[in-house]
Amino acid sequence: MIEWNKHSLLDLRELNKEEIEMVLETAKSLKEVSLREVKKVPALRGKTVVLLFFESSTRTRTSFELAAKRLSADTINIAVNNSAMSKGESVLDTARNLEAMNVDMIVVRHACAGVPNLLAQNLKTSIVNAGDGCREHPTQALLDLFTIKEKLGRIEGLKVGIVGDILHSRVARSNIMGFTKLGAEVTVCGPSTLMPPGIESTGVKVTYNVLELIEQCDVLMVLRIQQERQRDKYLPSIREYARMFGINKEKLRHAKKDILIMHPGPTNRGVELSAEVADGEYSVILDQVANGLAIRMAVLYLLLGTHGKAPAGE
């Protein structure tokens, strides 16, 4: 196995295939920790991880916090109201103050693209991107890859569909990077007004026909649609969106028998995904959440642990 020499995880764009696979391998061996009676290993004892969230989050923040705790790191949660922030201290200043207290890692989520890069360029502390604006959400894509690999045994050659608001989705961008690097064939689908210009240049296909997409997919990733897209005039109505792009049992009639339905959460049930499908036989949504923990443990372990190798038999 290759050496891990990354100090921060900013995006999947900067990771190569081998590095992505190394995270997945590491997660595989760490997943077991959460199944033990004592759900803790001492790998990161004495390390401090700060969760610096400028956007609200339940699942991702909890997942990172649990991941750190299961590796015995100390965690601190800082939730910053964005509007209060914009007038006072800058993001960089806040992070510099944290660094002065000798924290080992800052996990950051921010509404602006590039904030993790800004911190990584100016600090020595390890930075993990937990979502930056519309750019990337690398641990989400890693956990999606992990889940698919667990369920289907491979990524290469799979046909993956991503449906929804591609324009504003950092999950879509990270997944496109991850899937294409591991050899899957990605098609994105959504309203034309929510399709980012030049998206084809990332190596994906574009379709506006969700039924055609469903027919050929091994994996269908459904994205959350924000209610404000109607107000911002991207969509005539949420109702029409649900009718044209919402995934329900009826639309899945032509799907492959072992299709995987994924969603990064939180779901708008009845809008982009019907409850029936979200809880149905094809859905792996809760597996994604469980695997998210393992992936984040792997990321923390690789960035902060005794570098170099996956933990043997831990």
């Binding site: 993001v91 693209a113 590039g114 890069n117 961008r173 210009p197 990332t202």
Partner: protein, 438 residues
């Protein structure tokens, strides 16, 4: 006061002197130009006048920048008339026209006079304020154009934004035609550009940054060309950044429509890929575009579709720029790097000639703004002169900027061609360290 520039190869927009010339300056004007070989020995031996030896240098009419932000009044922490004048002098500019998006906005005669007084006190370069087209740049009612003109404005602009309302722009153009004052349009439809922070396209998609589509510029370019045609008047288009805009302007000129345009050095030297690092010093409005656009701007500067080069010098404090990409302000400083960038990127690769450089940086802006005693080195003209070393290579270094702000994406770059001395109204206002003379 008198000044003698010896051994000058004089570059005018239409002619380069074949043999070295001596330029004699008195009372701020060019009194006499003679072949250096004809200059009496007695004069060259006597120490009666100050002199500069321009041996091996190019001597050009002082550069005129139609588009700078001096930030005074209002944001003196970013730049002042004094520091901006110093930056201009160091950059070879003898005249700068400062945009009215100050606080308060330059929309009445009192503020124009206050700026002119301060520029006079500083006494380095000519500072000519540009007044607002609409009062308070609010896009609601016209400013008092006659008052602004009488106070000293030669041009009006709502720079920073377009005059969005087409009817208001029509009225502004009609009124400005009567008042004989130039209108400068910042071409950007705010509804289309939205919260965009960079050019919309493949790179904005990759970086997850909000895109400002090129069409936000071109719809206003096209609209203003049509208004100029309909009203049979003229319009000057600021900081053109796109191939499509160039094509529209080229078409308009071929039809005889009186449109003129400027381009900024960063738009013919940098592309949107510069944002990959999320360096906020690359964030500028209009945004950096694609390679194709950069090539089109160069071509337009070569064939004259774009008449002149203007820096859009936009100083910002480090505190303001040290933000995330979305919240950092737009703009970069440009006065001190313009000459180096023009020579390195346009003259040295033979895209434009030395004479064309003078046309784009001095003669054309003088003509467009009606400064009939500037833009040329000849007897009787004002003694605004820039001396250039065409060969000297230098590195852009943060600590060397004399502008109050240091927000340049060119720091670290090596440029060819540098300003040796700047003479404004017959006075040496800048001389590079180590240059002999005086």
């Amino acid at each position: 006061m008198s000044l003698w520039i010896k051994n000058a190869i004089i570059v005018n927009a239409d002619k380069i002197s074949r043999k070295p010339q001596d330029i004699f300056i008195e009372a701020g004007f060019i009194k006499k130009i003679t072949a250096s070989s004809d200059t009496p020995q007695t004069l060259s031996k006597g120490g009666a006048v100050n002199s500069i030896d321009a041996q091996g240098k190019l001597v050009m009419p002082g550069f005129i920048d139609m588009h700078v932000h001096l930030r005074q009044p209002g944001r003196e922490d970013k730049e002042t008339i004094e520091t901006g004048s110093r930056a201009a002098a160091k950059g070879g500019f003898t005249t700068v026209m400062c945009m009215p998006n100050t606080n308060p906005v330059i929309d009445n005669g009192m503020i124009v006079k206050a700026i002119l007084d301060e520029a006079q006190r500083v006494g380095l370069v000519n500072v000519i304020p540009i007044g607002a087209i609409t009062r308070g740049q609010k896009n609601e009612e016209l400013s008092d154009m006659f008052e602004l003109k009488e106070a000293g404005c030669r041009a009006l602009s709502d720079d920073g934004k377009s005059v969005v309302n087409s009817q208001l722009m029509r009225l502004a153009m009609e009124y400005a035609r009567m008042a004989e004052v130039l209108l400068i349009e910042h071409c950007q439809d705010p509804n289309l550009s939205g919260c965009g922070v960079m050019n919309e396209g493949r790179t904005s998609t990759l970086l997850g940054l909000k895109g400002d589509p090129g069409v936000s510029e071109t719809v206003i370019v096209a609209r203003d060309i049509e208004l100029a045609h309909y009203l049979n008047t003229r319009i000057h288009l600021a900081h053109i950044s796109l191939k499509r805009s160039v094509e529209l302007i080229r078409f308009a000129k071929s039809q005889g429509i009186r449109v003129t345009a400027e381009a900024a050095p960063h738009h013919f030297t940098l592309t949107e890929e510069a944002h990959e690092s999320f360096d906020t010093n690359t964030k500028v409005n209009p945004p950096l575009r694609t390679k194709e656009d950069v090539e089109a701007i160069k071509e337009a500067l070569k064939d004259g579709t774009i008449d002149c080069i203007a820096t859009d010098h936009a100083p910002h404090t480090e505190e303001d720029k040290e933000a995330d990409f979305d919240h950092a302000p737009f703009g970069m400083i440009g006065l001190e790097t313009a000459v180096g960038l023009v020579i390195t990127e346009l003259v040295d690769p033979k895209i434009i000639s030395w004479a064309q450089m003078v046309e784009r940086m001095s003669a054309a802006p003088a003509r467009i703004t009606g400064l009939c005693h500037k833009g040329e080195i000849s007897e009787g003209k004002e003694a605004d002169i820039t001396v250039i070393d065409p060969h000297r290579e230098w590195e852009v270094r943060r600590q060397d900027f004399v502008s109050k702000s240091k927000n340049s994406p060119f720091i670290g770059r090596t440029l060819k061609g540098c300003v040796e001395a700047t003479i404004c109204q017959g006075r040496v206002v800048y001389q590079r360290e180590g240059v002999p003379g005086l």
